[in-house]
């Protein structure tokens, strides 16, 4: 059902956890199947220095969370904004058709976290 890449990221997820006083936090929940994903960013000089996630969901949901955090770690905010759901799924070697909606979670949560970071920056100004 899942590719080896998916299973690897599922069994050994990268960047699980939380960041205290994160620069930005984004949470999305897909009401349809009850999965929830939260991403924490630590941003310094416009660069994502650290990223953590917590996810309640299926194997695909956890693997996409892990892969998304891997893909943006060390990237600039602008680069991170370019990450698409499809890119995450592709990086995992594809997802089963009925699981494509899970891959929408990760990039969406990330974009929300970046929006939260930007809002916080604006508030500081």
């Amino acid at each position: 059902m899942y590719t080896d890449k998916v299973m690897d990221h599922f069994m050994n997820p990268r960047n699980v956890g939380e960041i205290d006083n994160a620069s930005g936090v984004g949470e999305v929940g897909n009401a349809s199947c009850g999965d929830i994903m939260r991403i924490y960013l630590d941003v310094e000089d416009n660069i994502i220095k650290d990223v953590k996630f917590k996810t309640f969901g299926c194997g695909a949901a956890i693997a996409t969370s892990s892969m998304a955090t891997e893909l943006i770690k060390g990237k600039t905010i602008d680069e991170a904004l370019e990450l698409t759901n499809k890119a995450v799924a592709d990086a995992l070697g594809g997802l089963p058709p009925q699981k494509m909606h899970c891959s929408n979670l990760a990039a969406d949560a990330l974009h929300k976290a970046i929006a939260d970071y930007k809002a916080k920056q604006d508030a500081k100004k």
Partner: protein
């Protein structure tokens, strides 16, 4: 790696004696039971022996058993067959919210033919209330179909009491006994039902074969047409190797049931105790009125599919009512009907025992599971919320 199969309500391994009987049938008696010659007569003999064995398992007479391609077909044949045959008498059918999709979806399809279907609720243990059946019976009611035990939570319905009401009312009573036959004593005359669905692959027989018990005198239209096989109720060349395997499985089940029932019950108790020792785990279903092979728990703050995958990596095969495993967007209709909320239903885990399981298997699961639960909870934003 140790492999522990705990998904016997999904399907069972085929008993070695069943395989042997099927191979003998295919190697030595491959004829078409309808043929006049000796090859045909030998096949016919095997067919009727199998029918007698299946009948015996549920206290029926051989001529009241017809073979189908499985439980799904037996359910559909009943629902369409009886409803259509009784159309002139009435157009109301009663079923329950926790039925298998073969029953629920067939009833749903009946509404397009002008039938009205009442779907009874269940209580929080998953049981149909006898008084609800009583209240739902109408002059137009022609068929009531309530499952004997549920496949997800194992709750056993009070079919005998329900049947008494239904028969007194003059309607026809069907029960889907796919999950009880071979696991607890089942007798068509004790229960009093008019029709009963069975499936071979849940009792260590092969997949692709089932049976419908039809009490003498019950009217039923066939679902399909063709040769006159199975008293014109189910045409098509008989699935002889499958039927022979089913018959053998029925024979073995009848013999082993009394002892296995007790053993399953004991393994089940140990498993439930061990699971409830994990924090924030709840038992779903009825505490006592459940088939002895069924354990269903919800492990809060985690999602069932990830749990199944991690168990699978440890060689443990289980199932879940999580939406993520269903291919649809909703979690198990059974758990929801019992009033369990979406989140808790997502974290459901079903472990169903079988004749190959040992105490060591149970201890292995109880050893492995807490670590997996801990790992998944550590990843879960819901668990974090709760702690924070």
């Amino acid at each position: 790696m140790r492999r522990v199969y705990l998904d016997h309500s999904a399907t069972t391994p085929v008993h070695p004696g069943v395989i042997e009987a099927m191979v003998d049938c295919m190697q030595n008696h491959f004829g078409n039971p309808s043929s006049v010659h000796s090859f045909g007569r030998e096949a016919k003999k095997l067919l009727e022996e199998a029918r007698a064995n299946v009948a015996h398992l549920i206290g029926a007479r051989p001529e009241e058993i017809i073979f189908t391609s499985g439980g799904t077909e037996a359910d559909n044949l009943t629902i369409f067959g009886v409803a259509r045959a009784m159309r002139k008498k009435g157009n109301h059918v009663i079923t329950s919210a926790t039925e298998h999709h073969a029953v629920l979806d067939a009833c749903q399809a009946l509404t397009k033919e002008g039938f009205e279907v009442t779907v009874l609720p269940v209580d929080e243990t998953g049981m149909v209330r006898v008084e609800d059946v009583k209240a739902a019976l109408k002059p137009e009611t022609v068929l009531v179909t309530i499952m004997h035990a549920n496949n997800e939570v194992g709750t056993i319905n009070p079919i005998k009491e329900i049947t008494q009401l239904v028969k007194a009312h003059g309607a026809i009573m069907h029960t889907d006994a796919v999950q009880t036959v071979g696991k607890i004593p089942v007798d068509v005359n004790d229960l009093g039902v008019d029709l009963m669905s069975l499936s071979s692959h849940k009792i260590y027989g092969p997949k692709g074969v089932g049976a419908l018990y039809i009490r003498k005198g019950t009217k039923l239209f066939p679902l399909s047409h063709g040769g006159g096989q199975e008293r014109k109720r189910r045409p098509g060349t008989e699935n002889l190797p499958g039927i022979v395997g089913f018959g053998k499985a029925a024979e073995i089940m009848a013999r082993e049931l009394p002892e296995e029932m007790g053993r399953m019950g004991r393994l089940r108790q140990r498993l439930i105790e061990g699971l409830l020792a994990i924090p924030e785990v709840q038992l779903n279903g009825h505490p006592t009125e459940r088939i002895p092979i069924n354990v269903n728990v919800s492990i809060k703050y985690i999602e069932g599919e990830s749990l199944l995958l991690m168990l699978d990596m440890k060689g443990i095969a289980a199932s879940s009512g999580s939406a993520c495993t269903s291919g649809s967007l909703d979690p198990s209709h059974v758990l929801l009907a019992m009033g369990i909320c979406h989140e808790v239903a997502h974290g459901s885990l079903r472990l169903t025992l079988g004749r190959d399981n040992t105490e060591e298997d149970i201890e292995y699961v109880l050893d492995v599971l807490p670590q997996i639960v801990e790992r998944l909870r550590a990843m879960s934003p819901l668990y974090a919320n709760k702690e924070g």
